[in-house]
Amino acid sequence: MAFTLQEIAEIRLNFPILQTQARGNPLVYLDNAATTQKPRQCIEATSRYYEMENANVHRGVHYLSEISTQKYEDARKIIADFIHAPSSSNIVFTRGTTEAINLVAHGFSRTILKPGDEIIISAMEHHSNIVPWQLACQYSGASLKVINLLEDTSLDLEHFKTLLSEKTKLVAVTYISNTLGNINPVEEIIRLSKEKNIPTLIDAAQATAHKPINVQMLACDFLVFSGHKMFGPTGIGALYGTSEWLNKLPPYQGGGDMITKVSYETSEYQKAPLKFEAGTPNIAGTLAWVESIKYLSTLDLNRIQQYEHDLLNYATEKLNTIPNIQIIGTATDKASIISFIHKNAHPHDIATILDDEGIAIRAGHHCTMPLMNYLKLNTTARASFCFYNTFEEIDLFINALKTVDRIFS
């Protein structure tokens, strides 16, 4: 079952920022697709690390170094378990989703892709799942193919099937669209790709905070995600890869920690995942992220999903009662993200007017310029909800949209 009002009130108390004000009003934070707020456990873990545990990992033999190395490697296991990866060695720490995709794209461009090869993405990808592949194509002579959308903005699977061929070397698609909120049928995409022995990369940046994920059941080859979109700090994220692929791909960056032996002439590398982790990592960020994951697990992602679905339905219903507003993206399977436009008001003006009442939404192209062009739009306004949001906040949001109506009548 979803959460009770009492439970939501308790959850909100656990997020210090939700007790603050914005422009003299209680903060109504509806920009969760951009980044989520942090629970007390995550914030405290950051200070604790610097106050009590700070030391470099995988290097020293002293007391603190042992503690930080142990905690860092425990964190890898917790993250592996969270997405049901077979082992912690399947988890490579990165700066975030973007770096994780770049790591794979770099490896593919150096060792896999040849002129004439193809990579398939979808029309609703974030720039971070487009530009790295464009770079990989430039380096290798491969080209990019794009899955079309249907009328309701859901993925055109029939078109996808026509794109799959012997030339396809990778399919990289988003689990949940950060702009439209669509939950894509990644199971089907992975199944169809697997039939042709084509590896898949799933961008789960928007998914990990909102639904349970099991990479072994999905059977994807790569899955990428970010800490900050799931209540953890910025600057930390992870790449999940099958052992086969992580062993096959070459190192991404060179430096300390990723080697076993170095001479002036040549070097030997660590096994994955350390092969991909050059330099001192974001230790504090990793330990804090893990506290957010532990906290998230206590709330139960199934219940979160149900509650957020209720929020989505409530907000969709209310938005549909405002005649000047049109929701962009009407796929049936959606996460709690709503893009919309107003007949008379530009998204930036909407966001400024809502901000005046302490309501934070996003306006712009949401790092999906090609999708905007595809939909023949310049920008949209976007409200994105998560489990600490309330029905009351949605009422405030809808009410503030009436001010927009009044100014732009």
Partner: protein, 148 residues
Amino acid sequence: MNSELRALYQEVIVDHGRHPRNFGAMAEATHVLEGYNPLCGDQLKLFLLIKDNKIEKAMFEGTGCAISMASASLMSQHLQGKSLEETKQLFQHFHAMVVDKQSPDEHLGKLTILEGVKEYPARVKCATLAWHTLHNLLEGKNEVAVTE
């Protein structure tokens, strides 16, 4: 609604935003330049008819928020008949008003209506897009003006 927001979205701005003056392409333009704000995707194309160092006519087309459209619209009206020297000074005055938060110079006339944008750092670029495009043109830079 607080007073800053009321100042930002006063009737004249909303009106110019929705019904921009001098909107459209100008076939007889002697100078054409584009401006772009990558943060929000606002695009602008500025057309000027310049004769004897004087702006005889200014027009523009593009898409954007109320602030950027109103700013371009008001600018196009204000430039009519101004010498290039005066125009350069107007750019400085406008910039000083919205970016440096200085009290508006008297030459800005009706453009002072946009003063309220200075309280919204995230929106200043909307108001200056048209002016940056104009500035590039006056400086002889043949490139798209980018606000970022």
